[in-house]
Every structure is written in structure tokens, then in C-alpha cells.
Symmetry: C2
Subunit: 148 residues, 2 copies
């Protein structure tokens, strides 16, 4: 694991600070999430990681994703159609999900309103993150749907 990039350094610092071990798998999985196009499933992470670190197993991927989520370096996005993807973008942003093909895309410049967090807090709930998912048809699927 040479060529310690800035991305890696952040992870290593977080791990060291908590007395957790720095392993090649954790480095590579974190890199995969940060560098690849976003919204990766566990399977996609494994595929990406396997190029660099053959033999890596799916249980390790899941364990590491859970760890990274706990460190706040990765977000889990659940769409409700059964798909769960992991996103390395921490800043609040919405996602669009196509009902037909399942494609997930970022929606830039759309944060969940503070209003919602405040309202949640008023009920005694302690919010830490808001996730906004927009359902519908992506441009490609909408085009074919019209034709039918």
C-alpha cells in the first residue's frame, strides 16, 4: 500500500485514532468508494476491489462498509426497492431512483431542509442525517414508456 494519497491518510488517521487496524482491504475498499462513480452495491465494491486485491471476500466488504459508515466516511442509501448502495459523498444531497431500471443518480444542490431536522428534534428524536429519495422514471426509461 504505497502511494498514500490524501484520501488514504484520512482513513488511516480515523482508524489509528480509534485503535483500529490499518489493513490493505480497508484501504482499497475505501479507495474504491471514493474514486469510482458513486452508488456502489456491495457486489460492485467487491468487483472493483478484486482487481487490486484478489481473494477479498464479500463478508469483509460488508464488515468494512459497516465500519466506514460508523466512521462517517461512507453513507448507506436505501431506496426501498431492495437495493442498498453505498455513497462516499458525505455532503447532504438527494438521489433519484428510476422505478423501471433502478438507476440511481445524484441530484445536485438539493439538501434536506433544516426545517425537517428541527421538526424531528422537536419530537425528542435526535437526527443525524436526512436522506431524500425521489422516485420516478429516468430520462431513458421515460422516453421508451411514452412510445408504448
Amino acid at each position: 500500500m504505497a502511494a498514500t494519497s490524501q484520501i488514504d491518510q484520512q482513513l488511516v488517521a480515523e482508524l489509528r485514532e480509534r485503535g483500529l487496524r490499518v489493513t490493505p482491504q480497508r484501504i482499497v475498499i475505501h479507495r474504491a468508494l471514493c474514486s469510482q462513480s458513486r452508488h456502489m452495491t456491495a457486489e460492485q465494491v467487491l468487483a472493483s476491489v478484486s482487481d487490486v486485491l484478489p481473494g477479498t471476500s464479500l463478508p469483509t466488504v460488508y464488515a468494512t462498509l459497516e465500519l466506514l459508515e460508523g466512521l462517517g466516511l461512507v453513507r448507506r442509501v436505501g431506496t426501498g426497492n431492495g437495493a442498498v448502495v453505498f455513497d462516499s459523498r458525505i455532503e447532504p444531497h438527494a438521489h433519484t431512483v428510476c422505478r423501471r431500471c433502478g438507476a440511481i443518480a445524484d441530484l445536485e444542490g438539493t439538501a434536506a431542509p433544516d426545517d425537517v431536522l428541527n421538526r424531528a428534534g422537536a419530537t425528542g428524536f435526535v437526527p443525524d442525517h436526512a436522506q431524500l429519495v425521489v422516485w420516478g422514471l429516468c430520462a431513458a426509461c421515460a422516453a421508451t414508456a411514452v412510445r408504448s
Copy 2:
């Protein structure tokens, strides 16, 4: 299926209009979702339905929930922690999900901003529904967390 309530009538009308059959299972499953406390899992729906209609099967519950979702009478809410629940409230409203105990609650008076739908539409995406989920700790879990 006597005692046709207003809830039932809406379902029957929708089914008839599309040439679909009106079956006891569909009536009872729809009633369960509308009358019970909200956010039911498929298993919970089955349990509730089984009191009235013993022998009802899980595949039928899933098929009917999918049908009702297609009719717009029920919403599927995916939280990302693996739980998928069904909600009979159609009006836009947010949900809070507890990271610790998994409890799901409604957040009144919080619709996803039109802004988001407009922005999604600007990308060619055809939105039909926005789902807003707030992650954090529910009041009960937050209280015990502080204590530790």
C-alpha cells in the same frame, strides 16, 4: 365481506375500473394497512390479516401490496437498514428511523420541497414521488445512549 366501509369502496372502485377482481384477501389486506398503526412489514400485514382470514399466504400479501402500490393506495418506504415497510398514508410526509432500535415514525407537516421535484425534472427525470427519511436516535434510545 359485508360491512363495506368507505375505505373498502375506494379499493373496490379502483379494482373494478381496471378489470381486476375483488377478492377477500385484497379487501382485508387493504383494511389492515389503513386501520392498523402504520408502517407495517409484509410479515406484520400477514399476521394482521390472518386473524380475519386464516390461511392467507405470504406470496399473496406481497402480490397484493405490489398491486396496491400500483393503484396508488399504498406507499413502499425503504429505510436502507434492510427494512421495507408499507404505509397507507399517501400524502407526502417524512419518516424518522432510529439507528438503534429501528423504530419508524411519521414526521408531521414535512413535505419534500417542490424545489427538489423541479430540479429532478430539469435533468429529464420524471418524478412521481419524493421520500424523505431522517436518521438518528429515537427519544427512548437517545435517553439510554446518554446514560452509557
